[in-house]
């Protein structure tokens, strides 16, 4: 996508992480420019989610640097990175499943609800005002996703597909600039995967997002990505234009040759 001034939103330089004897990530360089959709594919266990965990701060990289909007965030805790505009989803749906849909959308706006949590307990008027705005915004976002009627429903009782959609609604409520999506298409058939692709292209326009996307639906990822990485054994196996990466002999071999059980999407 052509941005007026292409600036780098996310950049990892030589990010490595080792768990005991396993080199889970080995000097991974990844870049996502403003308003780009960057895809990451790779067989199971390639280190894709581990990379997300290093980017968002759940794991501390053994070495390497993570830069977000030009700032070195390598040592920042997760919530501080979130405050800078990093949003992410999880493979197993990152929502507070014991709470209602409405509560989730309000909780997700934690950073936007600017009042003292302690003062609010003793009835500060500012808190009440902000709460009204928070609820209105939560309802707006839910309506945008056609989920408004579920306001009072407990998340745990919702079907998987709805939870997935709700998770993206919640993460958008955090006002992210960068959206890291961990397998948004898991459990979807080819047709839904196609719809998901259109949906992601649409929210990028609407919310001015940079998206980094992990998924096993290779056709989906290649279709919507501006740039594609393939990880294998913690290393970048290939990178470049999606079609080129997809037909790269090493990539084909990683998917079909080395591990025949790995999923071919």
């Amino acid at each position: 996508m052509s941005a007026p001034e292409p600036t780098t939103v996310l950049q990892t330089s030589g990010v490595s992480i080792r768990f005991g004897g396993v080199q889970a990530l080995d000097a991974v360089d990844l870049r996502a420019d403003r308003w780009e959709i960057v895809g990451i594919i790779g067989p199971n266990g390639a280190g894709k989610t581990t990379l997300f965990n290093c980017i968002t701060g759940f794991y501390e990289a053994t070495s390497g640097v993570v830069r977000f909007k030009g700032e070195d965030v390598t040592d920042l805790p997760v919530h501080r990175r979130a405050a800078l505009g990093m949003g992410r989803t999880f493979q197993n749906v990152g929502l507070v499943k014991g709470s209602t849909v409405g509560e989730n959308l309000k909780s997700a706006q934690h950073l936007q609800t600017r009042y003292g949590a302690l003062g609010a307990l003793f009835g500060s008027t500012r808190a009440s005002e902000v709460e009204r705005e928070t609820e209105a915004r939560a309802r707006d976002i839910l309506d945008l996703f056609d989920l408004g009627h579920l306001w009072d429903t407990r998340v745990a009782g919702l079907p998987y597909g709805v939870q997935k959609r709700l998770e993206i609604a919640a993460v958008l409520a955090t006002d992210p600039e960068l959206l890291l999506l961990d397998e948004p298409g898991s459990g979807l058939g080819p047709e839904e995967a196609d719809e998901l692709g259109d949906f992601l292209l649409q929210i990028r326009e609407q919310f001015l997002l940079t998206i980094v996307l992990i998924d096993h639906h290779v056709p989906l990822v290649t279709r919507i990505s501006d740039y594609l990485y393939c990880l294998n054994f913690g290393q970048v196996l290939a990178e470049g234009q999606p079609e080129d990466v997809r037909s790269h002999p090493e990539v084909v071999r990683a998917y079909l040759g080395i591990d025949p059980d790995a999923e071919v999407a």
Binding site: N92, K97, G98, S107, L150, P159
Partner: protein, 386 residues
């Protein structure tokens, strides 16, 4: 990723929206007769809480001793709500809560007796000191989790009883500290209302907590700290926040308890009491305000065999037959006998505790139909990727 049959997925997605629409509100509300019945029930409830214990507009004559027990029940409800913030909302545990309460009790007595201040001020200072020491203990919880932290709270409680409560200048040593009642609330009957004001305040704060960002942050971080963090919630800061609020309530409860007893001594603040606190909160029903209040009151009445004697269980059924009778158990052990039994029931059969039991009545009083509402199942996140 496992292979998924596309047709079933398609099916779920297509029916996703219509399948989960919560049952529409009942078209017909209660009849006029239904409203009258509910009005009467509300009035009766109000009378039991507001009039009966104080012998106000009441044909009964509640003895002072019983009124005193009712004050204690109200104060236990405050303490239960304190533990509910910690265990229920934040997912932390405290086996040393008797120290939170005890420090509040001694602080208030100290402020009133030694610094000759008003009781109201003493109780408020007790709440603040309770919050402060709870935050300090909370700092430890950021380093230790689970069993290790539970052990620290247990040791803290016992340590406080043996050391802090033995500082003579602060606690008056074994003789204890005098804690007079506030003017206007000197009698046992009047003091009940003083305690009730405290409970009303705590209920209001607790209600606000769940309706503002702090409470939502706690519920999120308890169930799934990783999701909470990606939403920008500083899980450490909010864990301390929970300790602070819990300490505030516990300190207030301690202060109220001190002036009810007119004198504070260290002895009652032992580990047994901490156990009763945890039991009453859990059996009452975590995250269920009314349940916690009822559970706490129930256990307060069980203490010292009060409820057992009151209901004349001993007179009615005589000595317990069989081998149990040979144990010749004193009714004082009632909380620690009934407690574990009820705890097992709650943990295995009735996850919502007392709160779940009274929920149908609650629904009915709110103008809906009397119906059993199953408890929400606990969501347990054990997948590291989630």
């Amino acid at each position: 990723m496992t292979a998924v049959d596309p047709t079933t997925v398609l099916d779920t997605l297509q029916h996703a929206d219509d399948a989960e629409i919560p049952s529409a509100p009942e078209a017909t509300g209660p009849t006029t007769l239904g409203w009258i019945a509910r009005g009467l029930a509300w009035a009766a409830l109000g009378w039991v809480v507001l009039c009966y214990p104080g012998n106000v507009a009441s044909p009964f004559e509640v003895p002072a001793f019983d009124a005193n027990r009712m004050s204690e029940a109200v104060i236990f409800a405050i303490i239960g709500l304190s533990l509910n913030v910690l265990i229920g909302y934040a997912g932390q545990v405290s086996l040393g809560h008797q120290a939170f309460v005890g420090i509040g009790a001694f602080t208030s007595a100290f402020v009133v007796t030694d610094l000759t201040q008003e009781v109201v001020l003493g109780v408020l200072v007790a709440a603040l000191v309770g919050a402060l020491q709870a935050v300090l203990l909370g700092l430890v919880s950021l380093r230790l989790t689970g069993l290790a932290f539970a052990l620290v709270t247990l040791v803290y409680g016992v340590m406080a009883q043996q050391s802090i409560f033995a500082i003579e200048a602060f606690t008056g040593g074994t003789a204890g500290k005098i804690a007079p009642r506030p003017t206007g609330f000197e009698s046992d009957h009047r003091y009940y209302y003083f305690a009730l004001i405290g409970l009303a305040g705590v209920l209001a704060v607790d209600w606000r907590l769940l309706r503002t960002k702090g409470g939502r942050a706690l519920l999120a971080l308890r169930e799934n700290p990783r999701v909470a963090q990606t939403w920008g919630i500083d899980t450490k800061a909010y864990t301390l926040f929970a300790f602070g609020v819990a300490g505030l309530f516990a300190g207030l409860g301690g202060g109220l308890l001190a002036h009810r007893d007119l004198q504070v001594v260290a002895n009652p603040f032992d580990f047994n009491l901490a156990l009763v606190f945890v039991l009453m909160t859990t059996v009452g029903g975590l995250r269920n305000r009314l349940g916690v209040v009822l559970g706490s009151m129930f256990f307060a009445f069980l203490r010292n065999g009060y409820l057992v004697e009151k209901l004349r269980l001993e007179d009615g059924i005589g000595p317990i037959p069989g081998p149990l009778g040979a144990l010749d158990m004193s009714p004082e052990f009632a909380p620690l006998v009934f407690g574990p039994i009820l705890l097992l029931l709650v943990l295995t059969r009735l996850p919502g505790g007392f709160g779940q039991l009274v929920r149908p009545v609650q629904e009915w009083l709110a103008g809906r139909r009397l119906r059993w509402v199953p408890a929400d199942e606990e969501v347990i996140v054990n997948d590291v990727r989630a």
